[in-house]
Amino acid sequence: MWKGWEGKLADPDKTDALSKFLADHEASLLSGEGAAFHNFALLLYPVMEGYFIRKFKFEVDVARSLATDVVFKIWRIIGDPKRRPDSLTPGYIYTTAYTIGIDYTRLKQPQEQPIPEGFEPASEQNPESSLLSSFDVNEEALNPKQLRCLHAFHSIKERYQVILRMRYGEEEKSIEEIAIALNLKESSARLLLWRAQKAAKKKWDEDKGP
């Protein structure tokens, strides 16, 4: 659970239906109970639609389609036993949505936003920095490097994300603790972490573009 969200969930004034549902039904959801997921999904659609419209200024049809993608991705996560320990926090859901929004924008931008006349890219211009700065994100908290790093992080295998988050996230687990949590030998946990780091770094390098 994100520490930053525990406070929010504890504050009834700032708790919305989705957060409350997660707090009340997390176990049912993670156990794969169909009815719990059904109710959760129906709550999530309007929240996600609103998120995509407000955060990314997407059209309603696009926002709805992407809201479906978010629900689908969460369905997959719930079905993946390796993903269960730290899935389904509001923070995770919003990160998933954010990644989907960025991916959609990246995919669509060349078609929908023609390069203005007279536009000349600076020689060292990062192709993504202008993209990211156009989003309504909390730039005081996250700089473009961090945003791109997160994008690389969310592009790698979920198993890799889990171990990186355990090791370098707020929990900062030791290799021994990770091995216990993932039911691995310490040597296997170490190897998995190394591979995860390499995968994230590779993605980061690839995302730099030409």
Binding site: L42, P90, L142, R165, A200
Partner: protein, 213 residues
């Protein structure tokens, strides 16, 4: 942007990014999570239908062509739904029907050949069942339907003995599967052949070629 980042520097960046990530997810304004757009139930159902289609698209990337199990059509749908961790309401929304429609179908109260070919095509497309597999399942349903009357008598007796609804359903399911296992496929009759032909034509109209070839 620094083009030469060492692994150590990248790990430090990753640490700071992961630890700041929660700030990214909190929309501006403490209560903005409550900024939920107004959606009608129909709009939500439409989104959910899209999700259910994605689920079966993921699970059945290739159309289901060969079915090993001897199950009637409805019971096979039920098993596929349960494997997808979905409930009847999910399927109902994807088909624009109510849950009782799905229940009757799964339990064999509505045999497949009593479905309109449009409804049947909706189901076949959703679950991505190849027409040959549909034929196989339908012929098992036909074989089982002869034994349905006996099943219903037993179920009715069970209800009379104040058995739980769940137990009655389990009993019916077990009997369906036993009959399917024993009887296998029936020989197609004229009604079944006509229904399959109409279904095939409907799939052709929808250009669902992967379910036909």
């Amino acid at each position: 942007m620094n083009d030469q980042m060492s692994d150590e520097d990248f790990i430090e960046l990753l640490k700071s990014s992961l630890r700041s990530e929660k700030d990214l997810q909190v929309p501006e304004g403490a209560d903005s999570l409550s900024t939920v757009v107004e959606c009608s139930p129909e709009e939500i159902e439409s989104m959910h239908a899209g999700f259910v289609k994605k689920v079966f698209g993921e699970l059945h990337r290739e159309p289901i062509r060969h079915i090993e199990e001897k199950r009637p059509f409805g019971r096979w749908l039920e098993t596929a739904r349960e494997r997808a961790r979905l409930i009847r309401e999910d399927i109902a929304m994807a088909l624009s029907k109510d849950a009782s429609f799905v229940q009757r179908l799964e339990e064999g109260e509505t045999p497949p050949w009593e479905l309109s070919f449009v409804d049947a095509a909706d189901i076949v497309c959703l679950f991505r069942i190849h027409i040959e597999a549909v034929r196989y399942l339908v012929l098992i349903s036909l074989a089982v339907s002869d034994a349905r009357q006996q099943v219903e008598k037993i179920a009715a007796r069970a209800e009379g003995e104040l058995q739980s609804k769940e137990r009655t359903e389990n009993l019916k399911k077990a009997l369906d599967l036993a009959h399917a296992h024993r009887a296998g496929q029936a020989k197609p009759n004229e009604e079944i052949n006509k229904w399959l032909k109409e279904l095939r034509e409907e799939l052709q109209r929808r250009q669902a070629t992967d379910l036909l070839e």
